[in-house]
């Protein structure tokens, strides 16, 4: 393992903090040092907007006292300051414990003791600011030359490096050290035509690993090719068919649907109502687990933190529990929610390692990692060969879903008519509105082309943004009415 840790804290300090919390009466103490180092370059067209870097580094402490949960953090790494913080966390948790009717308890788990890191074939920090600017300029030049009839007045690129290091120590024996480097590239573009109006799109790449990810993604070629297709959508796009037609969704749209309508409603804290006043609750009720059918045999949705080089990668969660793939929906059945040690106790099961924290100052809460719909074995051509008239939606810009994760909307960006089993003319701004139940019950087929896309998922209070992947194959749906933006 290639471990070069910033970790400017003596692990003994965290053990001392845990011991102090126990002395003060806490049944459980968890101390996490976390360092998040970021460097980013932002450009507008062929100019540099800003070079920024940030370091967020400190200790987050969680205590369970008299059945009440307290969290406190400090960005001081001196023992005396941290001991003061654990004392504060314990006293506040004690103070609010009298308002609790039922004590909070954690499940007993086999906890991790070790280290892991993501290998970098080429050091991520070796990708210096000069190279990042050069790459952004190459992306812009290729994108500009790919637009023929329209104009490209606004083109903004962000390239961001992120090194995340953690050390988690708990009073019941976890001790996990980790290092995950991540790279994220996005270009946000506006294509403009005097008669046809404007089209906007954000194209994103994200993953964990080293600077070799740039070669793997080839953003210069990928963005310019997509932009050429988007220009065609703007200039030649037609309205979708007015009658109900079969719809095929590309992996980017499918991945987002999996994230929004399977991943979020299967977060056990949301099912129990812990996020009710913020990110909302879930259409899934505790009694649905293992018995409620939300879709047909194609509806298998997996969340897997262990996918190598993924954006949502981790091997142990922030409670020290080993990560593993979770089958959220299995062949249409509500199967396994995402758990931390708190919800696992309530559901009388074991945690499946879903507790994540954005930074040292954030409490670990249940989060997705890499969520996707299981692929099949068909080619794309086979998937669409029997469609006489339909629509293929490859990408999107606008989307949203209600707070119980049932009523949702996606507005396509790159989209095409399907005629007699082949892609035909582009379609402009097709609007898809459906329910979770309809989507997972209306899948007619999935192909074998599993692809992933990066995102930053928001949840918690204060809101925590964590890196995730979402993905899937191309998915064919039964007939539906497609709306248009007016």
């Amino acid at each position: 393992m290639n471990m070069v840790l910033y970790l400017k804290i003596d692990p003994i300090t965290l053990h001392r903090v845990v011991d102090r919390g126990r002395e003060l009466g806490a049944q459980y103490v968890e101390a996490r040092f976390q360092d998040d180092y970021r460097v980013s370059v932002s450009t507008r067209n062929d100019k540099v907007l800003a070079v920024t870097s940030s370091r967020s580094s400190g200790v987050g402490i969680r205590v369970l006292v008299n059945g009440s949960l307290g969290f406190a953090s400090t960005n001081s790494t001196t023992l005396s300051d941290i001991l003061e913080v654990v004392e504060l966390a314990v006293s506040q948790a004690k103070a609010t414990s009298k308002l609790r009717k039922k004590p909070i308890e954690f499940s007993d788990e086999k906890l991790g003791d070790g280290k892991y890191s993501v290998d970098e074939k080429r050091s991520l920090l070796g990708l210096n600011v000069e190279e990042m600017i050069k790459l952004a300029m190459e992306i812009y030049r290729a994108a500009k030359s790919s637009v023929k009839e329209a104009k490209l007045p606004f083109f903004v690129t962000d390239i961001r490096l992120h090194i995340q290091e953690k050390l988690v120590v708990t009073s019941d024996g976890a001790r996990v050290e980790s290092r995950v480097p991540r790279l994220y590239i996005t270009s946000s573009l506006t294509i403009m035509h005097p008669q046809k109006g404007t089209l906007q799109r954000s194209i994103e790449f994200g993953g964990s690993g080293g600077a070799e990810l740039v070669e793997k993604w080839n953003p210069v070629k990928t963005i310019s090719e997509e932009q050429a297709r988007l220009e065609r959508v703007l200039l030649r796009g037609v309205a979708p068919p007015s009658e109900k037609v079969p719809v095929v969704l590309g992996p980017e749209v499918v991945g987002l649907i999996a994230h929004e309508s399977a991943g979020h409603p299967m977060e056990a804290d949301r099912i129990l109502g812990r996020e009710a006043a913020q990110a909302g609750e879930s259409y899934v009720k505790p009694e649905y687990i293992g018995s409620f059918r939300v879709g047909n045999r194609y509806a298998t949705v997996i969340d897997d933190p262990t996918i190598p080089n993924s954006y949502g990668f981790f091997l142990y969660d922030d409670e020290g529990v080993k990560a593993r793939p979770r089958f959220l929906y299995k062949e249409g059945l509500i199967n396994e929610p995402l758990h931390n040690r708190h919800t696992a106790r309530i559901f009388n099961t074991k945690s499946n390692g879903a507790a994540r924290s954005m930074d040292y100052a954030s409490e670990p809460i249940i989060r997705m990692s890499n969520t996707y719909i299981a692929p099949g074995d068909m080619d794309f051509d086979e998937l669409i060969e029997d469609i006489d008239l339909g629509v293929y939606v490859k990408s999107y810009m606008e989307w949203n879903i209600d707070d119980v994760r049932w009523n949702q909307r996606y507005v396509g960006l790159e989209a095409y008519t399907i005629r007699k089993g082949e892609l035909d003319e582009p379609v402009r701004n097709p609007v898809l509105e459906f329910t979770t139940g309809w989507f997972y019950s209306s899948i007619l087929g999935v192909d074998k082309n599993l692809e992933f896309y990066p995102g930053t998922c928001g949840k918690g209070e204060p809101s925590q943004g964590v890196p995730v992947w979402f993905g899937g194959p191309n998915v064919k749906l039964s007939r539906m009415k497609i709306g248009v933006l007016s």
């Binding site: 100019k47 540099v48 800003a50 879903i401």
Partner: protein, 444 residues
């Protein structure tokens, strides 16, 4: 004021000025407490004590922004020295202007409530009040959040500007559940208030119990009442799109307009109000050391100004509006003047339409055109002949910001200071009636 932090900042500026043309250091020190409520009991109490050091470094037109949550300023100096090694090899920043020359420090006063410290240590009294008051309306359960904070800012620049100020913050919101209907309310201030806590609980409970009837809903165009919570959420997008940087990036409805253009109905105005000491976004100086002032973004339907820092102002041949953000200008507080309609007359005034009390998940297909949709999450009430006939469940508003701002036909007299998970810019907003907004819901 923290003398140790002030000294650290001054020393950082002095040391870095040896190698950079310009240096600005903004230190933010805060102590915050948050209690989260779940199913009518606390789920977690969270405490933060942190120091953030933010640096703007310039050399030969090149610009770097460093943000460090650290107690180790030496790490920042070391990082800055690394920057020097590559300084000449990177391009000049497109948006660059010198920091302003020395100006007098005029910090805000009157935004620090000493009671906040007491409740930071004893939040259980506020939590108990919120739970008790909400449940007293007859609802089944309540969730929500209470947050308290003490924030100190110190800015020192190599141009001789040196200023510091302190404020307190208080935020409370509740979501009440009664059967399948929910109600939500929120409040944000620099002052802690038990009355405000009780009011949030009562209003959340009121909307959760306002009707028991679930009624059919047909998608289409409706006249709509948008609550201060909805307006706070939607105006946050308008305010960020009024940042000059967003305009320069094309991610703004204002990219196609210039100051003086009509963008809304005459009865509508929205102000950026950093000098309002009762709203928690209050700030006396921006990140460049420019004294802040209240200003209209839109006044009587006309776009008055974009929000600028010195760099965007220089690019657009105008003056800073005191909204820096070293890269992106930012709104501080939003203030929408009230109108003539009394709150209790809103339903009668709407006559036929839908009353949306809260929303979430606003997303745009195209910022330049302002194409957006947003989803109702609490009571959405069908109104016929001036009476509430029932609630319609979760529906979606799909429109453009231009159409929204041009369709306003009524504004309430009462205004509310709101802030919560979906309204991060503290906003003083009225209820607003908008004509003919498209409302949708899936067929299947």
């Amino acid at each position: 004021m923290r003398k140790d932090l002030q000294d650290t900042v001054s020393k950082l500026v002095e040391r870095l000025s040896r190698n950079f043309d310009e240096v600005a250091v903004l230190a933010v020190s805060s102590k915050e407490t948050m209690v989260k409520i779940w199913n009518s009991e606390p789920s977690v109490v969270q405490l933060w004590s942190r120091v953030g050091l933010n640096l703007r470094l310039a050399k030969s037109g090149r610009l770097w922004v460093l943000t460090y949550h650290t107690h180790e300023p030496e790490a920042l100096v070391s990082h800055a020295e690394d920057i020097l090694k590559v300084a000449n090899r990177i391009s000049e920043a497109e948006l660059y202007a010198s920091l302003p020359e020395y100006a007098t420090c005029k910090p805000i006063t009157g935004a620090f409530d000493n009671n906040v410290e007491f409740y930071t240590k004893n939040p259980d009294k506020l939590v108990d009040s919120l739970i008790t008051e909400t449940l007293s309306t007859g609802v089944d359960r309540v969730s929500g959040t209470i947050s308290l904070g003490q924030v100190e800012r110190i800015l020192v620049t190599s141009k001789g500007y040196e200023c510091s100020e302190a404020k307190t913050t208080f935020e409370v919101y509740a979501r009440a559940f009664k059967g399948e209907l929910t109600g939500h309310w929120a409040h944000g201030s620099t002052r802690v208030s038990l009355d405000a806590v009780r009011d949030v609980g009562r209003r959340a409970g009121y909307y959760a119990t306002i009707t028991k009837n679930r009624v059919d809903f047909t998608p289409g165009e409706y006249d709509v009442v948008l609550s201060p919570l909805v307006m706070g959420n939607l105006l946050e997008y308008v305010a960020w799109m009024s940042s000059a940087l967003m305009v320069l990036m094309g991610f703004s409805i204002f990219a196609k307009y210039k100051p003086g253009d009509k963008v809304a109905v005459e009865s509508f105005s929205v102000y950026d109000a950093p000098r309002d000491t009762s709203l928690p976004g209050v700030v006396g100086f921006d990140a460049e050391g420019v004294e802040t002032h209240n200003k209209p973004i839109i006044e009587k339907g006309v776009l008055v100004t974009l929000l600028h820092n010195n760099a965007t102002a220089s690019k657009m041949n105008t003056k800073s509006t005191g909204n820096a953000g070293w890269v992106n200008p930012q709104p501080w507080n939003l203030d929408v003047p009230g109108g003539l309609i009394r709150e209790e007359e809103l339903v009668r005034e709407l006559r036929d339409g839908v009353f949306i009390t809260n929303n979430w998940y606003t997303r745009l297909q195209n910022y330049y055109e302002g194409l957006f949709s947003t989803v109702s999450r609490d009571a959405a009430l069908l109104v016929k002949n001036g009476e509430i006939v029932g609630h319609v469940g979760r529906i979606r508003v799909t429109s453009t910001f231009n159409k929204l701002l041009s369709g306003i036909k009524g504004i309430s007299k009462e205004r509310f200071d709101v802030q919560w998970w979906e309204v991060r810019i503290p906003t003083r907003a009225p209820y607003i009636i908008v004509s003919k907004l498209r409302l949708t819901r899936p067929e299947a």
